[in-house]
């Protein structure tokens, strides 16, 4: 092994306290940027995925569902819930000028009782005219969802039997959907007939979900697509004028709240990352300068033994590159260990959709931040090396650095 590298390794292991402190700083530099960028990207992905999954221009639901946040809880966090309105709203909305398609959705929470295998959100849709869930299912399944079939979100485990029972309806699990980073990952999807069977059974068993609406006339929400050339706001206003117990909201309005939240969180994370970088960079420069000053005699011993200024610089730079290599790797690995398993907890605590980017993006981000931290440490130590080697060794012996 080259002398410079060999000595750099001995210097690192020989001064363990100092080395650990510098490795921790490098870990902080690299890990903070990697972790921060990963969270921001996951939030942006989550929002984009949420936008895609909403798919409609306008959403109609009972006022209670929209104002209590029940609807958002289902979509964002996958908290099982239910809310209904009378299906007469379908015809009312269909008749409004500018409305192209209206498709109903049904939300039913499974129960922690013998009639259900697991507690989840069940979402019913009409494969005939659905334009929000069906395209998504088509991508993952590509076949017709028959009566008794269910498709599960990516957070739902598929049992060995491939079957789930909800309100005594035996369902065959036919597919698992791709991750969206939203509450929809924790839901189960069924067609209209299947969910009607569940709704009827729940009524017979005694769950009082339909106290205010007849089960056969119940719908949870309407997804509305506006015709080209019509203003979403105008159509939304027109719907609201016609409805009494239900309310229409535009998808953009729903997303803008999340978007604002995401902007705030991204800003805070960005600011934190900048503060950590400025702080770490300053500490690194001060630390390297102090360490080099402290090591003046040590470097002078190398000079009298025949080391050139270039060799001294190579030793110092090798040391910092090796330490930042260890620090960068462990910092990024630690950030990954914290973020990957806890992405769902992050979604719940921030109340925002979180969808981790693909492995290629993560790999590039990992390598990019890792290499950057190595460069920062390398440049910092090179500056210190330049300063110390710019002075005659004789002067170092005479009056220190």
């Amino acid at each position: 092994m080259k002398f410079e590298i060999n000595l750099a390794i001995k210097n690192i292991t020989g001064h363990s306290g100092r080395s650990i402190a510098l490795i921790l700083l490098a870990a902080l530099l690299s890990g903070s940027v990697f972790g921060g960028s990963l969270i921001v990207k996951s939030l942006k992905n989550g929002l984009s995925s949420y936008e895609d999954r909403l798919g409609a221009d306008i959403i109609v639901a009972s006022e209670e569902a929209l104002s209590d946040g029940k609807f958002e809880s289902i979509l964002l966090q996958g908290v099982p819930g239910y809310f209904y309105m009378d299906d007469s709203v379908i015809e009312i909305v269909k008749d409004i000028e500018g409305v192209e398609i209206v498709t109903p959705q049904f939300y039913l929470a499974s129960a922690s009782a013998g009639c259900c295998d697991t507690l989840v959100q069940i979402i019913g849709f009409d494969p005939e005219d659905d334009f929000t869930i069906q395209p998504w299912i088509r991508d993952c399944y590509g076949q017709t969802v028959n009566d008794g079939d269910v498709i599960v979100g990516c957070n739902i485990n598929i049992p060995d039997s491939n079957r789930y029972r909800f309100y005594n309806v035996d369902c065959n699990v036919v597919a698992k959907l791709d991750k969206t980073g939203t509450g929809l990952d924790s839901a189960v999807y069924a067609n209209m007939n299947t969910i009607k069977m569940m709704m009827e059974n729940s009524e017979q068993i005694g769950f009082g979900y339909f106290d205010e609406v007849e089960p056969e006339h119940a719908v949870s929400s309407l997804m509305v697509k506006v015709k080209d050339g019509y203003s979403v706001t105008d159509v939304q206003r027109a719907i609201n004028l016609k409805l009494t117990d239900a309310k229409a909201v535009s998808s953009k309005d729903m997303i803008s709240g999340i978007s604002e939240g995401l902007g705030t969180i991204s800003g805070i994370i960005g600011l934190l990352v900048i503060v950590i970088w400025v702080f770490s960079f300053t500490i690194l420069i001060v630390a390297f300068a102090m360490i080099v000053n402290e090591r003046v005699k040590e470097l002078a011993v190398l000079r009298i033994s025949g080391a050139s200024k270039k060799m001294i610089s190579e030793i110092l730079i090798s040391e910092s590159v090796l330490m930042s290599l260890i620090g960068g790797l462990s910092g990024n690995a630690l950030a990954a260990l914290v973020i990957f398993p806890f992405a769902d907890s992050l979604k719940i605590s921030l109340n925002l959709p979180v969808l981790l980017p693909g492995s290629l993006y993560i790999t590039f981000l990992f390598l990019g931040t890792f290499v950057t931290s190595i460069l920062v440490c390398g440049i910092t130590s090179a500056l210190c090396a330049y300063r110390i080697t710019g002075k005659d060794t004789g002067l170092i012996f005479r009056d220190g650095a």
């Binding site: 002398f3 060999n6 001995k10 210097n11 292991t13 020989g14 001064h15 005699k297 040590e298 002078a300 011993v301 190398l302 000079r303 009298i304 033994s305 025949g306 080391a307 050139s308 200024k309 270039k310 060799m311 005659d392 060794t393 004789g394 002067l395 012996f397 005479r398």
Partner: protein, 219 residues
């Protein structure tokens, strides 16, 4: 290899550009097989002159010639390599890398450029300088005298033809002082040019030539 200082001068300025110290034009020779000693009070310029001779402090004027080579005409890299091969330096005070072992410290100059060294010479130096029991130990735990002996062994392991020693007996007890001076005498007897800076009266007995310095000039 002979070492010649030819009209070497050096001016040392403070940060406010005020002249703090001046080594006036100095010329002398350190001959092969001889111990040349520079004596004088503290601050007289002895160590400055020695550092210039070692190629570690660029003089304001004049030149240092080692053998046929004018040291300061070489680039830093070439001068460092030349120093590594031809000049053994015993600096003032403690000069070991404390996190390395005694043997690693001694072998520093030869391992630096991957030069082959004589294991017999290494063993002989360790034995003669009383470092045998300490050879595998970390240099951080050595006493001042032991560190000085390590520095001597390090200066000699590459068989240099010029030895520069700055106060080699400073802060040593009489046994260690005698050991160091005897070692330097043996090196000179073997043909090396030894230039020693000291204000140790006992060391004068070992010198073949004594140069006295005062106020930055030889008198």
């Amino acid at each position: 290899m002979k070492l010649i200082a030819d009209k070497v001068g050096y001016q040392y300025f403070r940060k406010d550009k005020k002249l703090l110290f001046e080594l006036q034009e100095t010329s002398f020779e350190a001959k092969e097989g001889k111990i040349t000693e520079i004596v004088g009070h503290s601050g007289s310029g002895k160590s400055t002159l020695l550092n210039i001779c070692a190629g570690l402090l660029t003089p304001s004027s004049g030149k240092i010639i080692a053998g046929d080579t004018s040291l300061y005409d070489l680039s830093d890299e070439a001068r460092s390599k030349f120093r590594n091969k031809n000049i053994g330096i015993i600096p003032q005070g403690q000069s070991v890398l404390k996190h390395l072992t005694v043997t690693e410290n001694i072998l520093l100059p030869v391992s630096m450029y991957g030069i082959e060294y004589s294991v017999e010479l290494l063993d002989e130096l360790i034995e003669k300088l009383g470092l045998k029991k300490l050879a595998g130990e970390s240099a951080g735990g050595l006493s001042g005298g032991e560190m000085r002996r390590v520095a001597i062994a390090r200066a000699l392991v590459g068989k240099p033809e010029i030895i520069l020693a700055d106060e080699p007996t400073g802060d040593l007890d009489s046994d260690n002082r005698k050991l160091v001076l005897t070692s330097l005498k043996e090196i000179a007897d073997a043909g090396a040019a030894v230039l020693m800076v000291t204000h140790d009266k006992e060391a004068e007995e070992y010198a073949d030539e004594i140069l006295r310095m005062d106020g930055g000039r030889l008198i």
